[in-house]
Subunit: 123 residues, 2 copies
């Protein structure tokens, strides 16, 4: 029923279930979707590393999936999650920590962790 794209992927919006903050956009293949359902932890397909990726596997910053929504066209998913630590590998709670102001991207959030201390490998 889900429509995966020509690369076998579907975009997934991840939202904090408590604050409703949008945390990130990632991609799942069919296996990542299956693993997410089985474990209730968000799994994605890493396009840069070309492999299945358990979010938090190196950082401990897991996303516990509470609700899963599909859009009208069945080609996008929305996960509502409990986020451990922060979602962004740059050290922010959300990947959307920059807002357009006067034609420039301005950082509007504070770092909550130091990536070098958290990642054994780049996530």
């Amino acid at each position: 029923m889900l429509k995966f794209n020509q690369d076998g992927l579907i975009p997934v919006i991840v939202q904090d279930i408590k604050s409703n903050k949008v945390l990130m956009l990632a991609y799942m293949n069919a296996e990542a979707f299956k693993k997410t359902l089985e474990t209730q932890k968000a799994h994605f397909f890493s396009r840069s590393r070309n492999k299945l990726w358990l979010k938090g596997e190196s950082s401990g910053h897991y996303q516990f999936v509470k609700e899963i929504y599909v859009d009208c066209d069945e080609d996008t998913l929305l996960l509502k999650v409990e986020q451990i630590g922060g979602a962004c590998h740059k050290g922010y709670y959300s990947c959307f920590y920059r807002r357009l102001e006067d034609k420039q991207w301005k950082i509007i959030d504070k770092k909550i962790f130091e990536p070098k201390k958290v990642y054994k490998e780049e996530e």
Copy 2:
């Protein structure tokens, strides 16, 4: 600075600025981004119709853009908008009107308009 994909597009998450409800995922090309900045109304690139698309052009259901965010990788945008009418061409406020329950997609929102009455052409 924005990273458009191999099709010249960037995915855009649209979120209601008042309720923080996630409304839809759509795609912009460079022109749609420019038009959005100029007009403060969300413009997208329609992949099905292969053309620039002013959201609301046939329905009147415009999205007035209040804030624009970019993610860490600069390959996804987040718009916070004031949504007129409903975002979904199926008649719902949000495109994410179905939630996974007992392995089935269950409609959890109410229709707020009748698409046949609103659309002169399919949006």
